[in-house]
Symmetry: C2
Subunit: 638 residues, 2 copies
């Protein structure tokens, strides 16, 4: 019967692939979706080694082709980002509660390493505010940065080292998949929340406070600010607001006239320099305007001997390292990718992870703390015309010059200037429009985002982030636990079957119910799918009863079912059994390769009969109508 009534094609009942083949294919899809070794396939052994080196050390690929003209662009970009790196480096180090010079060190070695191993042309390496504060928050729980600054600093280096190890391992094990679970909504909310609390932290610098809470949440910070009202200094406030207005004005200018981006990029350095001059000539310290103080000349000293793996502090260090490491990866990779996409280039996420990892490992040996590719700096780099990773290398050289000769000059920087710089940067990180867009398009995404934002602002950074990630996972699991099923009808004058909720004009087939399942059928949704299918069936039967009809066939369209597990197969078997008891035949349409393999191995195919597996809905309908006609003829003749 099968062969005579099929309109076209036939179902493939090819023997299942061997376990090895299927496993290899799954492994490749899971860990090597980008097929990184493709370029090696047609090479001779020597060529393979050469390509391999080039793969892992991108500088070997681009440096030989590097031209003087490109170099000019890169030097210009490097000049711009160096002017940003100095104030940002000092500011974020203060956020992290470590000596400001560490911030400058961190803009020297890591960019050099990235220039060698990095895959993104536009990424500019530097420290980030959110991770700096997060490190302070977590490590501050086990070591007091004021009472024992040496221990605290050593733990920060250790955390940076472990971050590097984790990032390298993730890259080598190709576990970029973990970073994928930090959704865009989570990151947006986390950044927004962090921006809020960092801004509030800056009230300390703005008001010239001496005593301040070590907590970061909104309530405690505001409480602390108002408790120390007697310490407020108007000189500090005036200076701070002036600087902030200047910074915000140049930022506004940049948005209006993108060509003037360099003005806004240079302003923080201008603020620092002006601040230094004021502090130096007006003896600011005596007027309640504290300065940074104590910036020694000289490049990064070795810090490898300071790494401490004491059991007492290790859990906190690992926690800080893991969380900040993942956030840094998420930010750095996303940003590298988005700028690459603008130029239609590709960035290899796993390779980037290894580059970031090396950067932080070597950084931790040379008195640097956590670095990644921050958005603001990368955007400036891109706009300043950077053409290759060379921009990072040149920036590193500029920083070396600063460290060797100019560092002490910056010791006069007033803290309020740094606060203004941080606050201005943070105000740009609260993405009102994006949050509103989330609200408009996807309410659940909005909730995930707000959970991170409010959690970070009112509880703590790690808990806020955690809640948001868990909500994201719950959502992912809900997708699989409650997959979309729908009833299909035929679009008039076609052989196309579509969801009748979406296309109300689609016609039903009397006596035949076509259902589409849109997800793997397996343990997490087996019960749901069975109940849902049966509900469709009883509903259909009820409607048919009214018109005296009879439901004879249920067809399951499985094109969207990419795989199935044991529970899923049992679910289908139970549906088959329940329907059979009511005299309703079950048909399966277009089981995909993995599904077909499993229903063959588990003998489900034998249970429902090969003739009830169809290649297309049309085939199945033709067959069902044929059998309905036959049965009604039989009834008629009896």
């Amino acid at each position: 019967m099968n062969s005579t009534t099929k309109t076209s094609g036939s179902v493939s009942f090819a023997a299942p692939r061997s376990f090895g083949t299927a496993f290899k294919s799954d492994l490749k899809e899971t860990f090597f979706p980008d097929d990184p070794f493709k370029a090696f396939a047609n090479e001779k052994p020597l060529g393979k080694v050469r390509k391999g080196f080039q793969y892992f050390v991108p500088i070997l690929g681009w440096l030989p082709k590097y031209s003087l003209k490109t170099f000019q662009y890169d030097v210009l970009a490097a000049l711009t980002i160096t002017s940003l790196a100095i104030p940002q480096g000092i500011s974020y180090a203060k956020l992290c509660q470590i000596p400001p010079i560490i911030g400058l060190y961190s803009s020297f070695v890591p960019p050099l390493i990235y220039a060698i191993f990095g895959d993104s042309k536009y990424l500019a390496v530097g420290t980030v505010a959110a991770c700096s504060l997060l490190i302070a928050e977590i490590i501050g729980e086990v070591a007091d940065p004021k009472a024992d600054p040496t221990l605290y600093l050593h733990l920060v280096f250790t955390a940076t080292f472990i971050t590097g190890i984790i990032q390298t391992a993730l890259g080598i094990l190709r576990l970029g998949i973990l970073v994928d679970f930090l959704s865009h909504s989570t990151i947006t909310g986390f950044m927004g929340g962090t921006a809020i609390i960092i801004c509030l932290q800056q009230l300390k610098g703005f008001l010239g406070l001496k005593n301040f809470t070590t907590k970061t949440d909104v309530v405690n910070v505001l409480k602390s600010v108002f408790q120390h009202r007697n310490e407020w200094r108007w000189e500090s406030v005036v200076l701070g607001i002036t600087f902030l207005l200047l910074l915000q004005f140049t930022r506004w200018l940049r948005n209006r006239k993108p060509k003037l981006f360099w003005v806004s990029a240079m302003t923080p350095l201008v603020v620092v320099v002006v601040g230094c001059l004021i502090a130096y000539f007006a003896h600011a310290k005596d007027h309640g305007i504290p300065i940074v103080g104590d910036l020694k000349k000289g490049i990064n000293p070795s810090s490898i001997q300071y790494l401490t793996f004491d059991k007492k502090y290790f859990p906190a260090v690992v926690k800080a390292a893991a969380i900040t490491g993942l956030i840094a990866l998420a930010e750095g990779i996303a940003i590298g990718r988005s700028f690459a996409i603008m130029r239609n280039e590709q960035v290899d996420g796993n390779k980037e992870m290894i580059a970031f990892g090396f950067m932080n490992i070597i950084g931790s040996f040379t008195s640097c703390y956590l670095t990644t590719g921050p958005f603001s700096k990368t955007a400036v780099n891109y706009n300043a015309g950077a053409r290759s990773q060379m921009a990072n290398a040149v920036m590193a050289l500029f920083m070396m010059f600063v460290l060797l000769f100019l560092a002490p000059l910056f010791s006069y920087t007033p803290l309020v200037a740094l606060s203004a710089i941080i606050m201005s940067a943070m105000l740009g990180l609260i993405k009102y429009n994006e949050v509103y867009e989330l609200f408009k398009v996807d309410k659940f995404d909005f909730v995930i985002c707000m959970a991170a934002l409010l959690g970070v602002a009112f509880i703590s950074m790690d808990i806020g982030l955690g809640i948001s990630i868990v909500l994201g996972l719950v959502r992912a699991l809900l997708y699989v636990a409650r997959p979309g099923t729908c009833k299909l009808g035929k679009i008039p004058d076609s052989v196309i079957y579509r969801d009748i909720e979406q296309y109300p004009e689609a016609a039903r087939n009397s006596g035949v119910l076509v259902l589409q399942i849109g997800s793997p059928v397996y343990f997490a949704n087996g019960n749901y799918i069975r109940e849902r299918i049966l509900r469709w069936v009883w509903d259909e039967q009820e409607q048919l009863d009214a018109s005296g009809g009879q439901l004879e066939h249920v067809l399951l369209e499985l094109s969207g079912v990419i795989t199935i597990d044991m529970t899923g197969i049992e679910t289908l078997a139970e549906v088959h059994k329940t329907l059979a008891a009511r005299g309703i035949k079950l048909g399966i349409i277009n089981p995909r390769i993995k599904v077909m393999e499993k229903i063959q191995t588990s003998h489900f195919v034998d249970k429902i009969g090969k003739e009830n597996i169809y290649l297309s809905i049309e085939d199945a309908i033709v067959n069902c109508k044929f059998s309905i006609r036959k049965s009604s003829e039989a009834e008629g003749s009896s």
Copy 2:
């Protein structure tokens, strides 16, 4: 152009549903997939109240129609399960380290409650071995059952109470979805592992040991058995092996001749009675065969005053309650469902949870511990011809009779008889065939199952279960993080497009690449989907390059994409941008209702153009060929 070249139908660009409508629909699919209130829809207010009562109290539905004939069947079944309930009740209470009489109490009140609220006709209520041991393991960590048996017992009652609260809450909140995440493979492995360690525990009874470890894992138990070699008693071993052989023989007989199921159901009671007689007449206690001892007459005393919510023990109690509660639900609901399916009836999982919850809450007030619907007892009940929940009520009456008059007789039961009964029951729980089937059909399921089995056997019950559940979740997340994409080709002589890996004969369309995505596109897989699509594209382009062709269109078939989030939309936008830069046009085929709503709201539709959204692959191909022809004509004429 669009309207002239489309072969049939047109894409629906209906305005997105309102948030309220979409939210309500999602909520219904998530929590009310079985549409429990359907029956109420067409009733008058009074009818609604009546139906509501009937819904929550099933006995109101079935009792009025109950007939004497059915009652005869139920009494016979009740007799059979009572004979099983006595030895099992005593045995499992011993496993739980509580006085054996509690096991008998637990077969009196809970079955009565279930008869009122339960939805499954065949389920027989009783205690279960796995949960009994699990309670002992977890509560035993905070209270020693030997040193302070009163405190321990009170904590067990409290755990039962909390289990009841959790189960009721899950039922009312319709969170049966949580139970869905205990996959069949996990349960199989957990039961197998539990069976192994429970069997090993019975060596204590078999060998007549006095000293025994409180640990449950294989290594520690075996060590303990061999450390106390001097305590081994041959009398006990002989008796035990005799009983075990008898039990196993009748079990074997039942498998050969299913009609003799009652023989195997009665044997445990026979073993107990014979054991009592031997113990009584041969003064077994003097020969190293310990007996149960101390079974008082009388029905369940109140225990509500013993519930203790001391902070010191509460975490352990809640842990025990939550884990055993979920396992009990998973077992009870699955078993109720599978027997209902045999008879083509339906069981409402959420209603069952409420029934189990009430059963355990009221049980905890009346000196009972955790009960559910165990597989063995339910199977016996079904085979014995039970027709309704009445069988449970009658069993409760029989148990009352036993408690009032016969209980003290059972105090002579030799522990070795109980050990033989437990061991025999446990041997049936190791499902070799099922594990082998998992190995054959689905290697990952097999790993999940073995993780539970080995974890329970060699580490501890809760950790084994935890590892297995986490593996299951990882798998569920992998499904969504690495969805199946495939390249489609046209099956010859048809308009059907299928995976060319599965159907190698399917023809490619020159210049048009059709890709199918089979899962929601969202944060967890956005990066993967982008990379995978681009890899397909570059591969295709490479092949075309060889033949001098040019890839002009990429079509994404989205029938399997049930929903999309913000990151997913961005992913598609990025793909569109990358392709556009190479002069390749992106087309979208059959976006489903939720996807369509979101790509409209987020203006992605405007970005790629309405004319590039098609209803079917055939439509899209016709359109693409038209545009390819036009462009080549234009080239020809220029």
